[in-house]
C-alpha cells in the first residue's frame, strides 16, 4: 500500500500552497482584498498540513505537524516594496501572474486530495476518507478564488 506516500505528497503540496498564498499576500499588500483573503486561505492549507501529519502517524509516515512557517525576512521586504510600488501599474500584471500560479498549485493540491480519497476508499480507511471529504472543499474554494480574482482583475490590468 502506498497510502503513506500519498499522504506525504499531499503534506508537501499543502505546505507549498500555504507558502505560495502567503507570498502572494505579501507581494500585494497594496491590493488589500488579495492581502487579507490570501492570508486567510493560507491558514486553511496550514490546517490541512497539521491534520495530515496527525493522520500520517497511523500510516507509518512521520510528518511535521507545524506548517513550514511564516514568510521570511526576504518576503517581509517584498511586503514593504509592495507598499511603495502601490502607485505603479506593473503590480496589476504581477498580480495576474501570481493568481495564475496560485490556481496551478491549488489545482495540483486538489488532484492530490482526489488521489487520497480514491485510495482511502479502495483501502477502506474511513478516517482518511473523512479527512479528504472535509479538506478537499477548502481546496476547491481556494481554486475558485484564484480563478475569480484573476477574471475580475484581468480587464483593467490588460486594457489600461
Amino acid at each position: 500500500m502506498k497510502l503513506g506516500l500519498a499522504i506525504e505528497e499531499l503534506h508537501r503540496s499543502e505546505n507549498h500552497l500555504a507558502r505560495v498564498l502567503l507570498a502572494v499576500a505579501d507581494r500585494h499588500k497594496a491590493d488589500h482584498e488579495v492581502f487579507h483573503v490570501a492570508s486567510d486561505l493560507a491558514r486553511w492549507s496550514q490546517r490541512h498540513v497539521t491534520e495530515l501529519a496527525r493522520v500520517g502517524t497511523d500510516f507509518g509516515v512521520d510528518l511535521d505537524p507545524r506548517p513550514e512557517g511564516e514568510p521570511k525576512i526576504l518576503e517581509r521586504i517584498q511586503q514593504a516594496t509592495s507598499d511603495l510600488l502601490g502607485r505603479r501599474p506593473e503590480p496589476g500584471l504581477l498580480l495576474l501572474a501570481d493568481l495564475r500560479h496560485v490556481h496551478r498549485e491549488a489545482a495540483g493540491v486538489s488532484l492530490d486530495w482526489e488521489l487520497l480519497a480514491q485510495a482511502a476508499q479502495g483501502a477502506r480507511k474511513p478516517e482518511l476518507l473523512e479527512l479528504a471529504e472535509r479538506c478537499h472543499p477548502d481546496t476547491l474554494r481556494q481554486l475558485r478564488w484564484a480563478n475569480a480574482k484573476l477574471k475580475e482583475s484581468a480587464t483593467q490590468a490588460l486594457v489600461s
Binding site: A30, D31, H32, E33, H36, V37, S39, D40, L41, G86, R87, R88, P89, P91, G92, R141, Q142, R144, W145, N147, A148, K149, K151, E152, A154, T155, Q156, V159, S160
Partner: protein, 816 residues
C-alpha cells in the same frame, strides 16, 4: 398645540398603541422663527432626506424660500412624525456658503468660471482619455442622496454610453451588505419586511442597529408599541449601551468582530431545540443540511468565550427568537461595517427562513439602508449593480437591457462584477483610473485611512470632478467643482428601505447658477455626443418625469417593478411600495408571501458569492443548488478579525454616528440646533477602562492606530470595556486645516480606520481597528457629546443636551 424641545426629546411624545392596531397620527412641524402656518405661501410635497426612513413631509415656502417642514399625516411611513434632522436640517439649503458657480483649478487655485468652461473641461478630458486609453480610464463615485431619475440616467451614461465598469456609490459604505445579504439568501435584492411589521411583531431583534439614532421615527413607532398594551420583547446586539439596548429585554454586547460566532451560536440553539418550521424549510429552502452541520461547531459556551457574552444571555436571546410568534429583525452598521459583514447579516435571514417567518404581518427582515436614496442607487444601477436587479452574469439579462437602451450587448460591460468603490480608489491609486467624478459624497472624510485617500485624490495625474452643494473637503481637492441643486430645489422620486416610493417636488429655485444633478448628467451626455446604436441621442429624456417613464420600462417584469406608478399617482397621498404594476396597482405591502421568491436561476439577480473568499458562485453551481427558486440557507464559518488588539494597541476602535448629524455634517453642521447638540468630536470609553488609567470625563485624549492619530475629549459611557467609539462625522471644512488636519490635530475618525473590506459585499470595515489611547491634557469640564443618546454619560453632573427655544417643535396628536 404642544411645543416640545426635540433636541432634548428626539423621539417626541408617546402615542401608545397595541398589537395589530394602527399607529396613531402625530403631526410634527417646525417653521422658521416667528412664522406660523398662516404665513406660509405654499406647501410642497416631499420626503425626508437626512436618513433612510423615507418619512413623508411637506416643505413650507414663503417668499420663494424654504421656511420649514411639516410631516404628512397620510403617509404610511411616518403618520405625520419627523425626526430632529428633518425638523432642523432644511436650514442648510439657505446657507450663505452654498456653491453658486462652477469652479475650475487654475495655477493651483480653484477659481469661479461659467458652466461652459467647466463642462468643456470635463467633457474634453473625458474624450482625451477615451481616445488614449478607453473607458477603463473613467470612474464615477456617486452617492445615496440623489434621486432615482438621476441614478438611472447616470447608469445609462456610464454603462451604456461610455462603457465603463467603474460606477459605484458611497452606498458601498452603508448598504452594500444589505444588498449582498439579500442576494445570498433570496438571490435578489428587495426587502422582505414592511415598517408595519412593527405594529404586529411580538419580538423585535435589532442587530448592530441603533435604530433610535439612525431612524428616529421608526424608533418612535417601536417606543409607542413598548408604551402600549402587550408590548413586544426587544433583542439588541450592540457593544454600546444605545437607547435600543436600554429598552431591550436582552442586550448582547459582543466583542467587535465576532458577529458570525454569535449568530452561529443563536442558530445552534434554535436548531438544537427544534424551534424550526420544518414544513416551511422543506418546501421553500435549500441548504438546511449544511447549515445544521455548520452550526453544530458553535455551541453557546464557545461563543460566550469568543464574544465575551454571558452564556445565559445567548441562550435567553435564542429562546426569545426561537419562540417568537411574529419576529421582526433589522440589521445595520454594527454588522455591515464589521468583520465578516455579509456572513453575519445572512445568518439573520437564516433565522427567519428556519422559522418560516417571512411575508406575513409582523414577520419581516429589514436589511437596513443608511441613506435616503440608497435603495435607488441599487435599483437603478449606479452602484455596482445593473438596473432593475439584472444579473450581470446572465446573457439574457444583458441582451434585455441592451434592447431597452438600444445599444449592443457588448457595449455594456459585463465581463466581471461592476467595480466596487474601494477598487475604484485602488485603480486611481495605481494610475489606471484617470478621471474620477464624485457626486454628493465626501470620500476625503468618509472613506477609511484618510491619509491614503487624500494622497490618491490629490494626485496631479488624476482629474477629479466634484459635484456638490458645498465646498466639501473632497471638493477642495478637485480640478472642477460643479455646483448642484439639492432636495427642495429639484424634482424626483426616491425609495426607502421598505420599498416605499415618494415623490419629492421642487419647492424653490436653487441658489445662483447651481443646477440639478439630473440636468448636469444630461448636459454631459449631450456634450459628449453619446448615441445609441441607431445614431439617436443615448439619453432620450430631458426632464425627471420622462426619465421616470424610461425607468418604468426598464423595471417592467423585474422585482422592483414601477410600471404601476406615475408622478400623478404619487402626488397628494402616501408613498407607495413597489412592486407596483397591473397585478398590484396599489403596491405591495410585503414580498415573499407564501414562500415564493425571486430566486429562479433565469430570473434572479445574483447566484451569490463565497462568503469568505468573495468568489462569485457560477451559474452551473447555482442551478445545481437551487434549481426551482427557493430561499438559500447559507452557512458560514467564523474567522477571527484581521487586526486584533496587541500590547501596543490594546483597544478595539469602532466608529459610528450620532442622532444629530448625517454623514460628514455638510448639511447638519449648518443647522444651528443640530450643530449645537453635537458640536465636536468625542471619544467614548467604559468607566472601568477610564478608572484603570485615571482618566476623567472631558480629558483630552489622543487615539492612535498604525494609520494615524485623532484628538478628542473623553466621554465615559456605557460602552463595552476594551472598546473605544469615535463618531465619524467630523472632518475639517470648518477647521483651520480646510480639507486635512492642521498640524497634527486630526479629528476625523477615518484617520484611524483600516483599509479592508468584506470580500462578499466589498463594504469597508470600520469597526475592528486596534487602537491605543493616551491623555494629552486634563479636561476643564465634561465633553460636549450628546447626553440623550448612546453617548449618555455614566456619571451624574454632565449638563443635559437641550435645544432651548430654537428647538421647539409643534406636535399635534390625532387625525388631521
Amino acid at each position: 398645540m404642544p411645543r416640545i424641545d426635540r433636541i432634548a426629546e428626539p423621539w417626541g411624545s408617546r402615542t401608545p398603541y397595541g398589537p395589530g392596531d394602527t399607529w396613531p397620527v402625530r403631526v410634527d412641524s417646525h417653521l422658521a422663527d416667528g412664522l406660523t402656518e398662516e404665513d406660509v405661501d405654499r406647501w410642497v410635497q416631499s420626503a425626508t432626506i437626512l436618513h433612510s426612513n423615507g418619512d413623508g413631509l411637506d416643505i413650507a415656502v414663503k417668499d420663494d424660500r424654504i421656511v420649514g417642514v411639516r410631516g404628512r399625516a397620510v403617509d404610511r411611513v411616518n403618520h405625520g412624525r419627523l425626526g430632529p434632522k428633518d425638523l432642523f436640517g432644511w436650514q442648510a439649503n439657505n446657507s450663505p456658503d452654498r456653491l453658486t458657480k462652477p469652479l475650475i483649478r487654475r495655477n493651483g487655485e480653484l477659481v469661479e468660471c461659467d458652466w461652459d468652461t467647466a463642462m468643456d473641461a470635463v467633457v474634453g478630458r473625458t474624450r482625451e482619455l477615451l481616445d488614449e486609453q478607453g473607458p477603463s480610464a473613467i470612474g464615477f463615485y456617486t452617492t445615496g442622496q440623489l434621486f432615482l431619475e438621476e441614478y438611472y440616467t447616470l447608469g445609462l451614461i456610464a454603462h451604456g454610453g461610455i462603457g465603463t465598469n467603474h460606477v459605484d456609490g458611497n452606498t458601498r459604505l452603508c448598504t452594500a451588505t444589505a444588498a449582498a445579504a439579500l442576494k445570498e439568501s433570496f438571490a435578489s435584492d428587495g426587502q422582505p419586511g414592511s415598517y408595519t411589521d412593527i405594529d404586529h411583531a411580538d419580538v423585535i431583534a435589532l442587530y448592530g442597529h441603533n435604530m433610535a439614532e439612525t431612524q428616529t421615527v421608526l424608533w418612535s413607532r417601536v417606543l409607542d408599541r413598548l408604551a402600549g398594551p402587550n408590548p413586544p420583547q426587544v433583542i439588541c446586539v450592540d457593544p454600546r449601551e444605545t437607547p435600543v439596548a436600554r429598552a431591550a429585554t436582552v442586550h448582547l454586547a459582543p466583542r467587535p468582530g465576532t458577529n458570525v460566532m454569535l449568530m452561529n451560536a443563536l442558530l445552534y440553539e434554535i436548531v438544537a431545540n427544534g424551534w424550526i418550521d420544518r414544513a416551511y424549510v422543506d418546501a421553500h429552502a435549500v441548504g438546511f443540511a449544511e447549515l445544521e452541520k455548520r452550526v453544530r461547531d458553535y455551541p453557546p459556551e464557545l461563543a460566550a468565550q469568543v464574544c465575551d457574552v454571558p452564556v445565559e444571555q445567548i441562550r435567553e436571546a435564542a429562546r426569545i427568537l426561537g419562540t417568537a410568534e411574529r419576529l421582526l429583525s433589522s440589521v445595520l452598521q454594527g454588522f455591515y461595517q464589521s468583520h465578516q459583514a455579509t456572513a453575519a447579516a445572512v445568518q439573520v435571514n437564516n433565522v427567519h427562513i428556519l422559522r418560516g417567518m417571512l411575508g406575513k404581518p409582523g414577520c419581516g427582515v429589514l436589511q437596513m439602508n443608511g441613506q435616503p436614496t440608497a435603495q435607488n442607487t441599487r435599483e437603478a444601477g449606479a452602484d455596482g449593480d445593473l438596473p432593475g436587479f439584472r444579473n450581470w452574469t446572465n446573457k439574457d439579462h444583458i441582451a434585455d437591457l441592451a434592447r431597452i437602451w438600444n445599444v449592443e450587448p457588448m457595449d455594456i460591460p459585463h465581463y466581471s462584477p461592476p467595480t466596487h468603490a474601494m477598487q475604484i480608489f485602488r485603480y486611481a491609486e495605481e494610475g489606471s483610473i484617470r478621471l474620477l467624478w464624485v457626486q454628493a459624497t465626501n470620500p476625503a472624510v468618509s472613506l477609511p485611512e484618510l491619509a491614503r485617500i487624500r494622497s490618491i485624490l490629490a494626485q496631479d495625474r488624476l482629474f477629479l470632478v466634484v459635484q456638490d452643494i458645498f465646498l466639501s473637503e473632497t471638493a477642495q481637492l478637485a480640478d472642477v467643482v460643479l455646483p448642484a441643486a439639492t432636495w427642495g430645489e429639484k424634482t424626483g422620486t426616491f425609495t426607502n428601505v421598505d420599498r416605499t416610493v415618494h415623490l419629492s417636488e421642487k419647492a424653490v429655485e436653487p441658489p445662483g447658477e447651481a443646477r440639478p444633478d439630473f440636468d448636469i448628467f444630461v448636459d454631459y451626455a449631450h456634450r459628449l455626443g453619446l448615441k445609441d446604436k441607431d445614431g439617436a441621442p443615448l439619453v432620450k429624456w430631458s426632464d425627471p418625469e420622462a426619465a421616470f417613464e424610461g425607468w418604468k420600462e426598464c423595471s417592467r417584469g423585474r422585482p422592483c417593478d414601477y410600471t404601476g406608478l406615475s408622478y400623478d399617482k404619487l402626488r397628494g397621498g402616501s408613498g407607495i411600495q413597489w412592486p407596483c404594476n397591473d397585478e398590484h396597482p396599489d403596491g405591495s405591502e410585503r414580498i415573499y408571501e407564501d414562500g415564493k421568491f425571486w430566486s429562479e436561476p433565469s430570473y434572479c439577480e445574483s447566484y451569490g458569492r463565497d462568503l469568505v473568499t468573495g468568489a462569485p458562485v457560477s451559474e452551473t453551481e447555482y442551478k445545481a443548488l437551487n434549481p426551482t427558486g427557493k430561499a438559500v440557507l447559507k452557512a458560514a464559518e467564523y474567522l477571527p478579525p484581521h487586526e486584533l488588539p496587541s500590547e501596543d494597541f490594546p483597544f478595539q476602535l469602532i466608529t459610528g454616528r450620532t442622532l444629530y448629524h448625517f454623514h460628514t455634517r455638510t448639511k447638519t453642521a449648518r443647522a444651528p440646533q443640530l450643530q449645537a447638540a453635537a458640536p465636536e468630536v468625542w471619544v467614548e470609553m467604559s468607566a472601568s477602562d477610564a478608572t484603570d488609567r485615571a482618566f476623567a470625563e472631558g480629558d483630552l485624549l489622543e487615539v492612535s492606530t498604525p494609520r494615524g492619530r485623532v484628538q478628542a475629549r473623553l466621554r465615559i459611557s456605557g460602552i463595552r470595556p476594551g472598546v473605544l467609539f469615535l463618531p465619524f462625522h467630523y472632518g475639517y471644512w470648518d477647521s483651520p486645516g480646510g480639507h486635512e488636519p492642521a498640524r497634527e490635530e486630526g479629528r476625523a475618525a477615518n484617520e484611524l480606520t483600516i483599509t479592508e473590506w468584506d470580500p462578499a459585499s466589498k463594504q469597508p470595515i470600520f469597526k475592528t481597528a486596534a487602537a491605543a489611547v493616551t491623555r494629552l491634557s486634563e479636561g476643564t469640564g465634561p465633553s460636549s457629546a450628546p447626553t440623550t443618546t448612546a453617548s449618555r454619560p455614566v456619571a451624574a453632573g454632565v449638563p443635559p443636551t437641550r435645544g432651548g427655544d430654537a428647538a421647539l417643535v409643534t406636535e399635534e396628536a390625532g387625525a388631521r
